[in-house]
Symmetry: C2
Subunit: 133 residues, 2 copies
């Protein structure tokens, strides 16, 4: 008996998928709304375990707590420094970079995190309307 498919685990994974790059706390709040009996430690443990098992990505993004991402294909992220939103960027540039690094630095590269920081179109629009008002 290796791994059990528990109700808690299903609810937690559903929450990750239905939210947008949520933090563990955000997942916990969503899960609480569905079943208040599910404990914080279960949420943190399941997220950690699933990330360690490669079922989720665990993202370290400047200025926020860790985020979780069910999208496993190679991609980048971008965070708006105004509204805090994190978005996927489906590009595979990192793969080319990884092989460059292998050659030039002698590392075996296993994984690559690329995070852009900036201002999203929505927040740019808002800033502009304030300026022109």
């Amino acid at each position: 008996m290796v791994k059990r498919n528990t109700r808690q685990k299903r609810i937690i994974m559903d929450a990750v998928c239905s939210l947008d790059h949520p933090s563990a706390t955000a997942v916990y709040e969503r899960v609480q709304a569905i079943d208040p009996k599910i404990s914080r430690s279960t949420v943190f443990r399941v997220l950690s375990d699933e990330a360690a098992a490669g079922k989720l990505l665990r993202l370290h993004i400047n200025g926020t707590d860790d985020r979780f991402d069910p999208t496993l294909t190679s991609h980048c992220h971008i965070r708006c420094r105004v509204c805090g939103k994190v978005e996927d960027i489906m590009t595979d540039i990192a793969t080319d970079m990884s092989s460059d690094i292998e050659g030039s630095h002698g590392y075996s590269v296993e994984y690559c995190d690329v995070v852009f920081y900036g201002i999203c179109p929505d927040c740019k629009d808002k800033t502009n309307s304030v300026q022109t008002a």
Copy 2:
């Protein structure tokens, strides 16, 4: 009177420069060895302030606490998952990527973090010698 050049600040910045991508705690320990009267909160505050002022980079790297880097020119990082070492990779690929993102996603990109994870040449050698032994 805008900003003061204090002895504590000088010691802390020297420590960051003499260490290799140190965490705040590593800086604190180095600083303690020089002057045990300098408090932990001063170290954390100075590092945060200098990072916010753009005098240092603050790196969020998976599986470790924040690291600080006095190198301000655009570059990437790589972390060995065996020994934990963090190295600079002086490449400017991120700049090209940033302008791509501006075009395709409408963001104003201000900054980009690129972190590779893998195994450094030293740790690879050790692994090999164990295997062949």
